[in-house]
Symmetry: C2
Subunit: 580 residues, 2 copies
């Protein structure tokens, strides 16, 4: 008898179910009710029946859990995560799965940029057969590097053919409108597969926002103010309110609850979470609790992390609510206001109780290619970071990246002395060198520029996880330390390194794609703290120096960025050189 | 420049749009707001931009319509229609499209039962290139006739591969649970295509409703009381509140508005409409107005006929709301409480103003096979309707269909005299003969039974549009008139006929599939009135005698039904003979 036949027989009371949870309050995300005295019974991974009495489905062999009046909610869903970042899925899940999150939609661009479709498939394989569900989006590949811009159409089709690929990942609006010939065909292919286009409309307004919406995108996780949320909701865009390690926007946005009648297109998401935040705060349960604490109705808050997410991705036939035929992904919490998992059921199996994970996430053995993504063959030396200048005269006007916040930059132009055919920068004025070195597509291809306001007074720091590209990014006040950082990253097969006075002062190996450490999460968090401290010791005062560093290649953040091809002007998408 | 590029350029204000509607109130189905001073501008069939000012998209060549403060709502959608019934799409649309309906989802089982996939494809062709959009569901084919039960898997796959086929049509719960081996594979195929299963859970409760939901169905249009609506909404099922010519449930169900917080899964539908009702009352605009009159908030009422329907079918990426990139399907109404179309825009084109259709629906030329679906070759005579009995004795106990309402029947058992090997029925006791004659699969195959309470005192009436089967259904107090009816239907290539005393007293030819008249709607309605009167003249007191007649083969209505194979017991789905 197949699974579905069995489930129907359980619903009909002809054979006993597997797990019954009785005497619960049910937070019904479909009707918005909180229903007293409800029970559910599962058959395999699915819910067979839900109602005031499931006694007919309980028999010999049914595990019965008395909820004693506790509240049952659907398993929580993170609709926009970056799982190919820092940790393995197995380590991530040790903390992420215990609090009630049972499904995660992750981006894949990080793996694609450095390891192509084989890398994405290996990454997806690491998400399979885990205690909770993963879905993924195909990478659109907006990049500062023209070499990395736009996913290959054949790769896109191969990915979209997979069931767990439920959409196209974020594609930043400026780049899409600047490169319509690249992205509209990618959008058309995705829509033809019946899958959604994840948007990224940070700062877009008026006609730009309208034009971007007209492209067909159906979500955005970038609003940072309530009126930005409202602008997007009005256009039919699902707004993912972000509360994660990159930004925390929920408190600033919470006013939206009083501005719209209908919240069906509001979603909560992390947009990625750091090991420290995950361990300290928890995962989606933290977001739902915070939404409630910010004044959202508990039913609305739960819908924002369950049904609304599932509906956006067309997954509401299987997840996002508690109903017959849906996956048995359930969380028992004390009451609707208190999002603290007493028991987490995923695919019909109890995976956590009282904050303790009772199943072991599967450790994936990554392919050799995934573990060898730093393809730089040569050894770097200080001269690799010189700034040659064959212009006449003894000064040159150069473009300089100036830090405005820890993420936003702007272009400033400086007249710098030229000596012996080389531009001289003066680190005493907080002006230091920065270089982006491709490690995959044109391995070793390097562009060196200048950055002001990074705070680094001596030494250097580098990382192979530079956003949106396949670059190692390095910044330093000393070219020898810059070279040492890059060479050490090569030896580590990827990672983050801080050097001072010719020695490594902190490092983290990230051998998987040059993006992911295989350390236990606790050790990983300790290493990241050490890197932060080592960077601070060099004078970097940003809250997360590593984040600030790797974001400098990011294509979504204004205004002057860098990649191995040169400096990139965010406003027009053009790649330019150092000399103005 | 392709259409999408052009639309984006309009949104950006780089080229002028086609149609601008300015100075409108916008009923925003996404946020639930009513926004003052809004405008939209189209590009081709799509909306390019929406907002307080679309001046940048207006230029030379843009048609500008000043709404003068009138309210703009999305085009209305009927999510469950039976268009292959009585009228052609072209005639139907003369009345259906003028009131603001811009998309219709229709069943196709009627054409499939009598003309197979070729018939469905011809029917779908008749819906193409019309002023408004049609979508369709593939027929599940629940039937009282085993010969018609279950769509052929190859036909299903061929239909599901088509973009306009957005789900599997209604499959009645009893038959599904009784024939799981037939229907679960059909369900699995449909779900694998990412398309929805339309449900039909009339009267299902408790474990039966749970089991049916567990099968994967995601809608039901059969609740007739508010608590039935609630039961289904709680299970995550979209409830289509029916207000059409078969039944009018909206007033009885309206109390649901006070019972649930979240109405996102409530939908309004006709489930089919008669020519007379369509002409007198209108189409979906009537339903939305009635919902408002029944106390639904106008925004909720509009959502129930727009966004909620689109979301159910996964069409909300293109219809159901007013936003950039969506089809320009729009209705201008005086105010949110008054659903009276001042202007209807479909695919960016004004198709109706002030109740007058300004475009001509396309007349389809049906294939020869579709026009010759009555494959009965022989001529019927009175003896075809005798009830032979070779049992010993001078009486026989027979199963009789007894009318309980105009649609519901029950089985009664009667002892009837047997003479000369034939069972004798006495029409003075309102006991008459009924026969179902297959016209397609086993043409001429005939089963004759007995029916009580139909009211017919003399003559006979027949129709080739018998539900869920490929039967001609005939009922009569006189076997000669019964034969005359059947023979006349054959000559008409399908239709409805009433005969009395050896003459035809009323008739309607339905040459398309034996289901559809090609008459103008006004003439069609007049013919139907004449048939009703002729049936009343024979003693039939039901409000719609033809509907009562053709529903007798229906597989969804309790309790004793008929088809060419015999009597069918609704409770267990078994086919039985006349003799008990």
């Amino acid at each position: 008898m197949n699974k579905k036949q069995k489930m129907i027989d359980v619903a009909l009371g002809r054979i006993p179910g597997d797990l019954a949870i009785v005497n619960a309050r049910l937070l019904n995300v479909y009707t918005g009710e909180i229903q007293d005295n409800q029970s559910i019974c599962t058959s395999g991974a699915r819910i067979a029946c839900v109602g005031p009495d499931v006694g007919h489905a309980i028999g010999c062999g049914t595990t019965v859990l008395d909820a004693a009046g506790a509240t049952l909610i659907p398993g929580l869903i993170d609709g926009h995560a970056h799982v190919a970042s820092l940790f393995t899925a197995a380590e991530f899940l040790r903390y992420a799965a215990r609090g009630g999150t049972t499904a995660i939609v992750t981006e894949t661009m990080e793996a694609y940029a450095v390891a192509g479709i084989a890398g994405v498939l290996d990454f997806l394989a690491s998400l399979k057969d885990q205690p909770i569900k993963f879905f993924a989006t195909a990478p659109a590949m907006v990049s500062t590097s023209r070499a990395a811009m736009g996913i290959d159409p054949a790769d896109l089709d191969a990915l979209l053919a997979q069931d767990e690929i439920i959409g196209l990942g974020e594609s930043y609006w400026q780049a899409v409108l600047q490169n319509r010939d690249v992205f509209l065909p990618i959008y058309a292919r995705t829509l033809a597969h019946g899958k959604v286009l994840e948007g990224h409309s940070a700062g877009a307004r008026g006609s730009n926002l309208q034009a971007y919406a007209a492209c067909g995108i159906s979500s955005c996780h970038e609003p940072i103010k309530a009126d930005e949320v409202l602008d997007r909701l009005r256009l039919g865009i699902y707004v993912m309110v972000r509360e994660g390690s990159i930004r925390r926007d929920l408190a600033a946005i919470a006013g939206i609850k009083d501005m719209v009648v209908d919240t069906r297109r509001l979603i909560l998401t992390t947009d990625g979470i750091s090991p420290a935040d995950l361990m300290e705060m928890g995962y989606m349960e933290y977001l739902v609790q915070k939404a409630i604490d910010c004044g959202f109705n508990p039913v609305t808050a739960v819908q924002m992390a369950t049904l609304n997410v599932a509906a956006h991705f067309g997954l509401d036939d299987r997840i996002g609510g508690i109903a017959p035929g849906k996956f048995a992904d359930l969380v028992l919490i004390p009451d609707p206001q208190t999002i603290k998992a007493m028991c987490v059921v995923s695919n019909g199996r109890i995976i956590a109780r009282d904050g303790n994970l009772e199943v072991a996430p599967r450790k994936h053995v990554f392919a050799a290619a995934s573990l060898n993504s730093i393809r730089i063959s040569r050894t770097f030396g200080p001269s690799d970071f010189c700034l040659p200048c064959d212009a006449a005269g003894d000064t040159a006007t150069v473009r300089v990246i100036e830090m405005v916040t820890d993420l936003v930059t702007r272009e400033v132009r400086l007249d710098l002395p030229v000596a012996a055919g080389e531009i001289k920068a003066d680190s005493t004025d907080d002006l230091v060198k920065i270089a982006a070195i491709d490690r995959t597509k044109n391995p070793g291809k390097c562009f060196t520029g200048l950055i002001k306001g990074f705070g680094i007074q001596s030494g250097a720091m580098a990382c192979s996880a530079a956003w949106d590209t396949s670059c190692v990014i390095v910044v330093g006040a000393d070219e020898k330390d810059m070279a040492l950082c890059v060479n050490r990253i090569r030896d580590l097969r990827g990672g983050a390194v801080v050097c001072a006075s010719g020695s490594v002062t902190a490092e983290l190996g990230m051998p998987v794609f040059g993006l992911i450490s295989e350390l236990p999460l606790e050790a990983l968090a300790a290493r990241l703290r050490a890197i932060r401290q080592a960077a601070a010791d060099l004078g970097v005062a940003f809250p997360d120096p590593l984040l600030t560093l790797i974001a400098l290649t990011g294509a979504a953040i204004p205004f002057l960025r860098i990649c191995e091809e040169g400096l990139v002007n965010f406003k027009d998408g053009r790649t330019v050189g150092l000399l103005a």
